[in-house]
């Protein structure tokens, strides 16, 4: 190390080394050997990654028999560290008595921590395996019930995983 911090080469390269041929051969050997190993990359967007059940994608609301399971208790909203969830309850004739007349998740605020899923007493809010989130402005990023409701059949894997590991 020189006084100004630059590296000083103590010994000069040999002529053989100066041709760089050995280094090129080394690199090519690695490249060629990798070509015959199994691939980890996807041809996105034609091919898509299918996450495991442990994956925390965007939170969704489970819909069962055409009705959301949610009873609008507001616990997800309270536990959310990023204050992404807004719930407004209302009364329903169904046995569950209350339902969310408004349920909005601000996907710009959401940090995918899964606390909402953990706190939910009804298994109503679930971290799905969806990770494709595109919006053009802040308003579009606020997902209402129309975007959140998902048939519970589609969330089967995640629910199984939760029951097993919780």
């Amino acid at each position: 190390m020189g006084s100004n911090g630059t590296m000083i080469r103590k010994k000069d390269l040999t002529i053989w080394q100066k041709t760089y041929i050995p280094e090129i051969v080394k690199g090519l050997r690695l490249t060629i050997s990798q070509m015959f190993k199994p691939k980890f990359t996807y041809n996105y967007p034609e091919e898509r990654f299918k996450p495991a059940a442990s994956f925390r994608g965007r939170p969704v609301l489970a819909e069962e028999n055409g009705v959301e399971r949610c009873v609008a208790c507001g616990l997800c909203s309270r536990v959310c560290p990023a204050l992404a969830i807004e719930v407004q309850a209302s009364e329903t004739e169904l046995e569950k008595e209350r339902y969310p007349i408004k349920f909005e998740i601000n996907m710009v605020r959401c940090i995918f921590c899964g606390f909402c899923e953990e706190v939910c007493p009804e298994e109503a809010i679930i971290m799905s395996n969806e990770y494709l989130l595109v919006f053009n402005n802040q308003e579009e990023a606020v997902f209402g019930k129309d975007k959140l409701l998902t048939p519970v059949e589609k969330l089967h894997d995640r629910l199984e995983f939760l029951r097993e590991h919780r």
Partner: protein
């Protein structure tokens, strides 16, 4: 005085007290469900069991009178075990309804479950099912499954509301709270059972499912429903008033509040009928203008008339501060002697508990700060007569819907100029030439004087356009604290209204007077200098409980109008 020992410490207490009262006075909490300071002792929840030396068994602290030399243990192993057993019994048939229960967050059973219960259930059998969603009366909803049979509501209806309609039927775990056949829980104080209920069995039909308790902020204020001035909390979420609940004040309303006060005094604050900014009548319709233009218009219009042609009507709904600046502007700057206010009495609609026939919160205050005719000036009757005869041509009305009274409404169209302060569209604004939208009681600082002469403070709970919850020291919920302009819940509807004292101060300033008010407290300070009864008072001294002042006059019910 009796000497008793509680948890190893000796205290001198009044021998008339029960153990639970004596302990509470010393700041020791003995958990309880059925006992309530204001109701008779029932002793049926068994939660307040304590160990008393020389007594063979644990005794209930609520029904055991203090005796000299008594030694009480509230945290001994025996007591803790008994409490855990009581909690276990109570929770056996209590549904796991907390997520959908309006009481959650202010529930005694929830709190005690954390504090005094073992934290798990041994009960594997089916819970007893009972009626849910029972409409007990027009304002109260009952969920029998949640009831823990403390009987507070029954005792309240019998002893305080004097409408004994509630009772228990059946036995054991099948006990059901119900009304007697052919009766409903429908009295003027029925909603007090909602706060009395230690669980969520009795809930408000008006507030049902509107918000979770922890999402709201609470602001100490005073009810404007009548001249009692019950102390209450204003519960606000997203800048919207959602409910009013009574606040303990032994000198005014104890722990109670009437249903009318709870339900009828806040909805207009959120209403769509609220006015924005200031409005001037142009070609027959009221058009929104800027504040400066409206104030300039008020000044130029008032100058057209002779002093004797102008009259002013203050308001018993407005604060002392508003009325004080109003009468000062009218008497000293505009120079009219014709000033009075309209009393709103409903003769007969009163009782011994809280409700007063005077349906305004501040009639004695209005009188005291000087909303009364100056020497030789016209009183209300004179003003109405003057308007009818044409000798009064201009009228300035502070926040009061005087045109709702037929007698006054019939003469108002003959006026050449009608200036009105109002927070909502009403009969009077329909007729007005200039309307200045003033803040509602929930949006400003101020004081009211109740019928006894108690000056009490109101505080802003709802922000107007010019106010900011954080910067102006409002009570804030978690949502208020963390909202950003990008959040939908961070963009509440704010009304463009100003407190009347400020509008009036601006008018006085525009008419050439020196006005030095920047806050309501400045106005109050001037009141303490100029009105003998207010001498030595300050907002700090009034505090949250109010202060009695000497009242020289009371509102005469002979001038009743509505």
């Amino acid at each position: 005085m009796a000497k008793i020992t509680i948890d190893g410490k000796e205290y001198e207490v009044d021998p008339k007290l029960s153990v639970i009262q004596a302990a509470a006075q010393q700041g020791i909490e003995i958990p309880h469900f059925c006992w309530h300071e204001k109701l008779s002792v029932a002793g049926n929840c068994r939660m307040c069991l304590v160990e008393i030396e020389k007594m063979p068994k644990l005794a209930i602290a609520c029904a055991t009178q203090v005796a000299d030399g008594m030694v009480v243990k509230t945290m001994s192993e025996k007591v803790i075990k008994a409490r855990q057993a009581v909690m276990e019994f109570l929770l056996i048939n209590h549904p796991l309804d907390c997520p959908i229960c309006d009481e959650a967050g202010e529930c005694k059973l929830q709190d005690y479950s954390y504090k005094y219960s073992v934290g798990y259930s041994r009960f594997e059998e089916d819970k007893v099912h009972k009626p849910k969603r029972v409409e007990l009366g027009p304002n109260v909803m009952l969920d029998v499954e949640r009831c823990i049979m403390c009987s507070r509501c029954i005792r309240f209806s019998d002893e305080i509301a004097k409408q004994p309609v509630l009772t228990f039927t059946e036995r054991g775990t099948h006990v059901v709270l119900t009304t007697f056949p052919g009766t409903v829980l429908d009295n003027k104080y029925s909603m007090n059972v909602i706060e009395l209920c230690p669980v969520g069995a009795l809930t408000s039909r008006d507030f049902r499912f509107k918000s979770r308790v922890w999402e709201m902020s609470a602001t100490e204020s005073v009810c404007t429903g009548c001249s009692r001035g019950c102390n209450m909390n204003i519960w606000v979420r997203n800048n919207e008033v959602l409910r009013l609940t009574p606040r303990l004040n032994e000198d005014v309303n104890s722990s109670w509040m009437c249903d009318s006060g709870r339900l009828n005094t806040f909805k207009f604050v959120n209403s769509q009928e609220r006015l924005n900014n200031s409005l001037i009548r142009k070609e027959g319709t009221l058009v929104e203008t800027g504040w400066d233009e409206a104030i300039a218009k008020v000044v130029s219009e008032l100058r057209v008339f002779k002093k004797t042609e102008i009259a002013a009507i203050g308001s018993a709904y407005a604060t002392n501060e508003d009325n004080f600046v109003f009468q000062k502007l009218m008497k000293e700057i505009v120079g009219t002697k014709n000033i009075d206010f309209v009393p709103h009495m409903i003769e007969g609609d009163e009782d011994d508990l809280l409700i007063r026939a005077d349906k305004t919160p501040n009639s004695s205050g209005a009188l005291q700060v000087g909303v009364k005719p100056a020497d030789g000036g016209l009183d209300l009757k004179g003003i109405i007569k003057g308007i009818g005869e044409g000798s009064i041509k201009a009228l300035y009305v502070l926040d009061d819907d005087i045109a709702a009274i037929p007698e006054i409404a019939s003469v108002l169209p003959t006026l050449q100029l009608l200036i009105v302060h109002s927070s909502v569209k009403n009969h009077t604004t329909e007729l007005a030439d200039i309307v200045l939208s003033c803040s509602a009681y929930a949006e400003k600082h101020g004081t009211f004087t109740n019928f006894e002469g108690r000056v009490q403070r109101i505080r802003p709970a709802v922000a107007t356009v010019e106010q900011d919850r954080a910067l102006d020291g409002f009570a804030m919920s978690r949502w208020d604290k963390f909202a950003s302009p990008n959040d939908r819940w961070g963009r509440p509807i704010k009304k463009d209204a100003r407190p009347s004292w400020r509008i009036l101060g601006a008018i006085a300033g525009a008419m050439g007077a020196k006005v030095k008010y920047t806050t309501a407290e400045d106005v109050f300070k001037e009141m303490t200098e100029r009105i003998p009864a207010f001498k030595g008072l300050s907002y700090l001294k009034i505090g949250s409980r109010g202060t009695m002042i000497k009242t020289s006059e009371t509102v005469s019910s002979s001038v009743q109008m509505a």
